[in-house]
Point group: C2
Chain length 449, copies 2
């Protein structure tokens, strides 16, 4: 009899789970249940649609009909899961019961909005779904001044999008730098400067205390000061969506997300739960940079986890190893990227890190069109293993951060990386000795000094 | 007493040797002896100067005065080394004797020109030095039709430069594809097509038999057919310059280059030679892709080898490990890059290779400005280790080939690479799952099938 696989959630993790389950088992019955109206779209692209560089239609890859016809995957949109019975192995959704042999829970995360006055007013948004994006787009038409709460990458990408759409944009951040959790202060400062040059106001060390207004937003109060605006966007971090995991009694890890095995199965009071797999923003997994858990709330991580959860739901026994969580963001004309641990995270985990840093160009010094390139690599002072890297560049940060991600994933020491590393060279695409190698050389010097 | 270090040759290997020796030993006396008139320039940039995208001045990084003043390195230009006495430890050059404590030989390679009729005529060139470049530039003014012998990356970059300068360009290649030694036929074919679209004529399977003319070149005969032209550029490969090594009786390896130890010292009848170090196009070194020798005649390799030779000449004991020899070339709007073994080289070495290949884009599918991206990865069928990769892309090939070079250098298996690899993602800089991962997945499938 065909295996029944149910997947809850239609984001990158859920839809990848469905496709990978289908590839692994061509005969299974696969059903995706989602509250969302659109599926298989790229939420990361929302800022670019808002500034007119893309369209809602284009960023939706496929609809439910495509999955049904091409992949024999049934997708129930706008359908809320009311309960899951892990003993009887069924899901109740939209008033109906659906039996399963294996279940993937990929319900993602929820934007954290601080519990302060006024967050329910008209004109207050988060950025998570296309619905959010379209609501923001509608509100933009009647609004000149926008406050963005949170200077993480989503907040900053939104700031650029709204600024490029002609708005007066103020970003208000509680911490003392932009991109505070994953970027180091010295790498974040040029990004802040670039935003300010574009006309974005950045207010640091200012916790948002209240959203002001009666019916519609009229301003934001932060650190005792009022910032008038007609729209507020909260980009204040994503928390794991624990609704279903808590209902099912799954163990929650130290980071507030579901603890999972390498096969992406949850635990209940320390015991592995059979036939249920989790993927995406709601889990915590093993860090490649240090012996402890991490959360990897990235689209690319969701795809990798979804692939493994889907295959395992279909009968495979694939494992999800440790993660370096590489990320990249485009802020105006700048690219900022990172992998492994930032300074802040390393110190939070009690790791003493050495840092190497180098500046140069993305092309040969004399080659026209070359952009500035700053590379920073950090290593654990005791093991000398590379635990993180960050790149700030006018172009081509992504391939370089993936290269350094390899070093974090394989636990390469700084010395091995430096003595082994080679780079391809052509004047219009790199310096003869890539800046990554110069940063590694500086790191080795720091470790030996 | 200050250590006397002499370096013969002022290319990337020689000048890096000098700088690294200086860094390691601030007190040594360092002298560079070179026949060249310009030093510390980028020969790789010559095509871009010829088509007007750069200038001779800009591609020369530093002159002899700079080295003397800033680094206490004396550079004797236009000075031919007449002999080396390895017993007495001195070099005779320009009629004078220079004593040394350690010697670096970095005399590079010589362009191979086939021994055929007419190669001495006016209008026949090779591309190695700025002098060559300036001679070609002068000849271009009176010439409409150019034949380039050899469709390797230098030949093709010259073809684009001359075509963009309005010339009628014909590239004549002996083998049955462009970039025959290091690129596979399926990766080279789109490059050929792109060149043909630019108006470059490509003639394959045609050995050049004679250069025609009395005093000046009037044409080239290849495979029995005449191609009228006023200029011929031979880009038919580089051979190790063995003049000094042969004089000194150094052992020559299987590939026709000087065999060196990991410390970059030569051998004489199997015995390591003390106090002499070699770097650059004249040596053969250990391949990272298979247990055997390889030649890595690349600017980036010369810099890495030069660094080690220079440090060792100054008293360090650094080792040059195995090389994957990553390369990249920009041909018009296309970037082609490779690392490790091509199909042809793998089969030459008797390795049975499996190949994985994937096509996609450099940015998210819906993201404007994204370019085509084709990635191919190959592995040894018996060990499953990744032995090579090639990339064809409209942008951002370099970082990705460096990433795959890591896998070759560390002997990563295809399975480990795939299960471990992560990529950073942002719609304007990559697909959510990079094409590199899709190619690795295809490779693992091929290895298991």
């Amino acid at each position: 009899m065909a295996k029944k696989i149910i997947i809850i959630g239609s984001g990158a993790a859920g839809m990848t789970s469905a496709s990978s389950a289908r590839k692994f088992d061509p005969t299974s019955e696969i059903t995706v249940i989602t509250e969302d109206e659109d599926i298989a779209y790229s939420p990361c692209a929302i800022p670019w649609v808002l500034e007119g560089k893309n369209s809602w239609d284009r960023i939706v890859m496929h609809d439910a009909a495509y999955y049904s016809e091409k992949k024999k995957i049934e997708v129930l949109t706008r359908t809320k899961v009311e309960s899951v019975d892990a003993e009887a192995k069924n899901v109740t959704a939209g008033g109906k019961k659906y039996a399963y042999d294996s279940l993937v829970i990929a319900t993602g995360g929820k934007v954290f909005v601080p519990p302060i006055q006024g967050v329910g007013l008209k004109g207050v948004f988060t950025v998570r779904t296309i619905r959010d994006g379209k609501d923001i787009e509608a509100c933009m038409r009647g609004t000149d001044k926008v406050v963005i709460a949170g200077a993480g990458v989503i907040g900053l990408e939104m700031a650029v999008a709204l600024r490029n759409s002609g708005k007066e944009v103020t970003v208000i951040e509680m911490m003392d730098q932009v991109i505070p959790r994953i970027a180091d202060a010295d790498m974040a400062a040029p990004v802040q400067h670039h935003l300010e040059e574009m006309g974005v106001k950045i207010v640091l060390k200012a916790p948002v205390e209240a959203v002001l207004g009666e019916d519609n937003v009229t301003g934001v109060r932060a650190a005792g000061k009022d910032y008038p605006c007609g729209m507020v966007i909260f980009a204040t971090g994503v928390r794991a969506n624990l609704d279903i995991p808590k209902e099912l009694g799954f163990d929650i890890g130290q980071l507030g997300a579901v603890a999972v095995s390498p096969t992406l199965q949850p635990y209940r009071r320390g015991r592995l739960v059979k036939d249920i797999f989790l993927a995406g923003d709601l889990i915590q997994c093993q860090s490649a940079a240090m012996p402890g858990p991490t959360m990897s709330q990235l689209g690319s991580s969701a795809v990798k986890e979804g692939d493994i959860a889907g295959r395992n739901a279909a009968g495979d026994c694939a494992v999800f190893g440790a993660t370096a969580s590489p990320w990249v963001s485009v802020i105006g004309d700048m690219q900022i990227a990172g992998t492994g641990l930032s300074q802040g995270l390393a110190s939070w985990y009690g790791i003493s890190a050495a840092e190497g840093k180098a500046e140069g160009f993305t092309r040969a010094r004399y080659s026209p069109g070359g952009k500035s390139l700053i590379v920073k690599i950090s290593a654990d002072r005791s093991s000398h293993r590379i635990i993180g890297a960050q790149i700030l560049a006018g172009e081509d940060a992504t391939g370089r951060i993936n290269w350094l991600t390899s070093a974090v994933l394989f636990g390469t020491t700084a010395e091995d990386f430096l003595s082994t590393a080679e780079n391809a060279y052509c004047p219009p695409t790199s310096m003869v000795r890539d800046v990554v190698l110069a940063a590694a050389e500086d790191l080795v010097r720091k470790l030996s000094g």
